[in-house]
């Protein structure tokens, strides 16, 4: 159905802001339940070992401590957390148990749960629990893990869970005949999302009703309910997951973690509500890490710079367990390494390796940020070797619009196949050149001005969105004639309520204030829901709303027809009234009929937003500091629902990408201790760091795979950043022959590269 397009496409101010600006947001730590106890998690202080003794008695002796839960409370076998995405059987042995035992495999792994009157007392009690661990050899890098020197899962016999292979055409043949080839090693470092709100879970067991309620759910509440049901043995009808306000997700918060099992278990075990709020130190060590991968990559080109093939092998450091969605990182790294370029021959392998570090999960643009860094660096090197202008080389290789839908390499195992839906990648490339002032600034390339080398670079990218299989929505006519919208999508701060209100209002031809509220995420709202990941909410939730709106309009017409004594076909819905000829009924007059409509959208095709980013940097060779002088991003998202909101997604994602490329680093020592475990050492970008960024959003090429024509657009901003900055730095330091292969480009590391190049 067509949208009226009054609200959709306009920069409506956000509905969520009305409570968030007033400090009236309700985040999980704001909730209180009568009789509530506070939980603290005792976490392994060593990276690998066998628990020899765990003595809760000294902790239980402290006043105010109510219980200490350990692995023995779970019976014969502690349940493991199943895989949500890419659930391959070969990865099952690597699933994380709900609580550690008999082994611990990373510093921070939960070993016991202390329940006490206050969070402070619970924390006091942690020091009192007797914990003795017999150490085992520690492996902290993927290459060593691959050699099997120390096995995390002895019975399984290997630290390699599986190898994903992206394959298209015949790469070996292409390399044999190619006029130009180059092989390089690259790596991206461990870093992660770091939401401003740490995680939290509040759980309450109603013994009389045999019902468990869990607050603090996010991202995929319905999935998590299924997992919790499976791990506790409760039916899913016995569990309610409530989504409150959520302080950021970026892929990180909302996956099912051990605490999502332990806290509900604890509530049931002691018969009192239990609240656990993660502190920042815990968050950095216990919430998913991401991005750590090293690759040996080869490119084969024609003399004109046409990319004939990409071949390579990546080692992906998964941390100690395969978490619910951890496998997405390695799979995406190889599946999407070719990006927006037409590469006919691909043979890329990603080995999935466990190490004694925090487990990984998806972080905005998972595997894509990594793959784009590798590919764009390689293109820059190849262009230089071949004497081809780097922009021209990209232009020559972009997938043309005529090739859409364009199938990329297939991945085994998992059988993942996909095609790019629509797009003219040259438009965003050209617009980006204009935005950064490419032609006018070329004279600055590699120049030393006032002690700093200047460099510019531009990279092209795609971002995948709209993961299926389904999303759900309902629209209900309230007594006052306004509409309550409920969706299975999950809010993580991205402005769902506003975007969905815009879509629903336009679909029903109502002004925005006739949408009473948009409810989302909680399992109480709809029979099922699929949540927020892979930038799917606008496409999937929005399309489900359209479906529900069509049904609601039919029902309104039918109810009006009955009241007005006419045929349904005579009833029009205009300006919030059901009108037949000269007679009209306000929606409020129909409310007594209890009108409500359910809608769904089923989808197995991903959308592919695309674009280009460009950066102008100045590098101080004496300190290694990279100053970002200008950054321009252009992305075509198919259909813009709210331009300010999508611009906000882009800028926010870009700054995360800049932080990841230049500042952030989860540093481990050789004993598996996280050294950058607080915000004074893990450096997030501040308002001073990257002041000059602008993002342009286009909607020239809608997606054909959903009625909105929209494409998921939450992650594109981060995807090309590593490649763009590294290429700009390389362009700046051309005279010094510095070619970055490894991130991050912190001042000390870049300085080291400059020194090494001089020798």
């Amino acid at each position: 159905m067509a949208l009226r397009n009054v609200l959709v496409g306009s920069a409506v101010e956000r509905i969520e802001d009305l409570r968030l600006l007033r400090g009236r947001g309700i985040f999980v730590d704001d909730l209180v339940r009568p009789g509530m106890l506070h939980a603290a998690i005792l976490r392994s202080p060593v990276a690998h070992g066998t628990i020899r003794a765990l003595d809760p008695k000294p902790a239980l002796a402290l006043p105010g401590v109510h219980a200490v839960i350990t692995a023995t409370d779970f019976g014969a076998r502690v349940p493991t957390i199943p895989l949500r995405l890419i659930p391959l059987p070969e990865m099952v042995p690597f699933e994380q148990p709900g609580i550690a035992g008999p082994k611990v495999r990373y510093v921070g792994e939960p070993v016991a749960v202390v329940l006490a009157e206050s969070a402070a007392i619970a924390e006091d009690a942690l020091d009192a629990v007797g914990l003795e661990i017999d150490p085992l050899p520690i492996v902290t890098d993927a290459a060593a893990a691959r050699e099997g020197r120390s096995l995390l899962f002895e019975a399984h016999g290997t630290n390699r869970a599986t190898t994903f292979i992206a394959r298209q055409g015949d790469a070996d043949a292409a390399f044999k005949d190619a006029p130009y080839t180059r092989r390089e090693r690259f790596s991206v470092h461990r870093h992660t999302a770091v939401t401003m709100e740490p995680r939290g879970v509040l759980a309450e067991w109603d013994k009389a009703k045999a019902h468990l309620t869990v607050w603090g759910a996010a991202k995929v509440p319905f999935f998590n309910r299924q997992i919790l049901a499976r791990m506790t043995g409760l039916g899913i009808d016995a569990i309610t997951m409530i989504e409150n306000d959520v302080g950021g997700g970026y892929g990180n918060r909302g996956e099912f973690y051990p605490e999502d099992f332990l806290i509900p278990f604890a509530a049931r075990h002691v018969g009192r509500p239990v609240k656990w709020i993660e502190d920042r130190r815990e968050h950095l060590i216990a919430a998913n890490h991401a991005r750590e991968v090293e690759i040996e990559l080869e490119i084969a080109c024609s003399k004109d710079g046409i990319i004939l093939a990409l071949r390579g092998r990546a080692l992906v450091d998964m941390g100690a367990y395969i978490r619910t969605n951890g496998a997405v990182n390695p799979r995406n790294t190889v599946q999407f390494l070719s990006g927006p370029y037409d590469v006919r021959n691909v043979e890329l392998a990603a080995e999935v390796l466990v190490t004694n570090k925090t487990p990984v999960g998806t972080y905005r643009g998972p595997g894509r940020y990594e793959g784009d860094f590798f590919r764009e660096r390689m293109i820059a090197l190849a262009a230089k070797d071949l004497g081809i202008d780097p922009i021209e080389m990209r232009r020559r290789n972009l997938v043309p619009e005529s090739a859409m839908p364009y199938a990329i390499a297939k991945v085994t195992p998992s059988g993942a196949e996909t095609e790019y839906d629509s797009g003219d990648y040259r438009i965003t490339l050209d617009r980006c050149l204009k935005e950064i002032g490419w032609a006018e600034k070329q004279h600055l390339q590699g120049k030393l001005i006032d002690g700093r080398y200047h460099g510019l670079a531009l990279c092209c990218f795609i971002e995948g969105g709209a993961a299926g299989p389904k999303e759900t929505a309902s629209l209900t006519l309230d007594p006052d004639g306004r509409i309550t919208v409920a969706v299975g999508s999950a809010g993580v701060g991205q402005g769902l309520e506003t975007a969905f209100a815009q879509i629903a209002a336009d679909a029903l031809e109502l002004p925005l204030d006739r949408i009473a509220q948009v409810l989302h995420g909680s399992t109480t709202l709809l029979p099922d829901g699929y949540g927020a990941f892979h930038s799917r909410s606008i496409v999937m939730g929005g399309s489900a709303i359209l479906n529900a709106a069509a049904t609601l309009k039919e029902k309104i017409r039918a109810a009006a027809a009955r009241r007005l004594g006419c045929a349904e076909s005579e009833v029009e819905i205009v300006d919030g009234m059901a009108r037949a000829g000269t007679r009209a009924l306000a929606f409020a007059e129909l409310a007594a009929d209890g009108l409500s409509a359910y809608g769904e959208f089923l989808n197995h095709h991903h959308t592919y937003a695309y674009g280009a980013h460009a950066a102008h940097v100045a590098v101080d060779p004496r300190t290694g500091r990279v100053s970002l002088l200008d950054y321009a991003a252009v992305e075509d998202v198919g259909r813009i629902i709210n331009p300010k909101m999508v611009e906000g997604q882009q800028i926010g994602a870009i700054v995360q990408g800049l932080g990841g490329t230049l500042l952030e680093h989860l540093v481990y020592d050789e004993t598996g201790q996280l050294l950058s475990g607080n915000l004074a050492d893990y450096l997030l970008p501040t308002a001073s760091d990257f002041p000059k960024i602008r993002a342009v959003t286009l909607e020239d090429k809608p997606s054909p795979i959903n009625p909105l024509g929209a494409k998921g657009a939450g992650e594109g901003g981060i995807v090309p950043v590593g490649g763009v900055i590294a290429n700009a730095v390389a362009a700046a330091l051309a005279e010094l022959e510095v070619e970055p292969h490894h991130l991050p480009l912190t001042p000390p590391r870049l300085w080291r590269m400059i020194q090494d190049a001089r020798r």
């Binding site: 968030l20 007033r22 009236r24 947001g25 704001d30 402070a120 401003m196 950021g248 701060g493 906000g648």
Partner: protein, 155 residues
């Protein structure tokens, strides 16, 4: 017993010395608009105004608030429930997404503009560097604060 004033109203709490001001405001006085993001004085989500100065409430003990006049995010709300000019400017510029860091930015910006309504972009950026945001990338926040200066100049 500790006595102080919060958002113009007297408060009286009896808490152990180790309770910090943020936890006292949130859990004892139930003013949950102030958020806790790090408890080591880096993120600024816990910022409140104490005797006119923006401070990190996670680095202050509740007992140290004896006799102080404190303003939290709730204290920036207008009695008629309209958005204040600063809040309206944040909304106009889409200067928030998840909203978790927002109370800290609002109290900081309010403290700054109350003292320095002519603060320039460099000064605004410098002051706001003590508050972390992971969603917005800061640019709309800076714009919102600069746009709100007009309202503070009028006072």
């Amino acid at each position: 017993m500790i006595r102080f004033e919060v958002n113009g109203k007297p408060a009286e709490v009896d808490v152990e010395p180790r309770m910090n001001l943020a936890d006292c405001l949130r859990h004892v006085l139930r003013l949950t608009g102030t958020h806790v993001g790090c408890e080591h004085g880096v993120c600024g989500a816990c910022t409140v105004i104490v005797d006119g100065a923006a401070v990190r409430s996670c680095l202050m003990l509740a007992v140290q608030a004896e006799g102080a006049k404190i303003t939290t995010i709730e204290g920036l709300n207008r009695a008629d429930d309209e958005l204040s000019p600063l809040q309206a400017s944040f909304r106009k510029h889409h200067a928030l997404q998840c909203g978790f860091c927002t109370p800290g930015f609002l109290t900081t910006a309010h403290a700054l503009l109350s003292e320095e309504p002519d603060a320039d972009e460099a000064r605004v950026r410098e002051v706001l560097s003590g508050n972390l945001c992971r969603c917005t990338g800061y640019i709309p926040i800076i714009e919102a604060v600069l746009d709100a200066r007009a309202a503070y100049r009028k006072r």
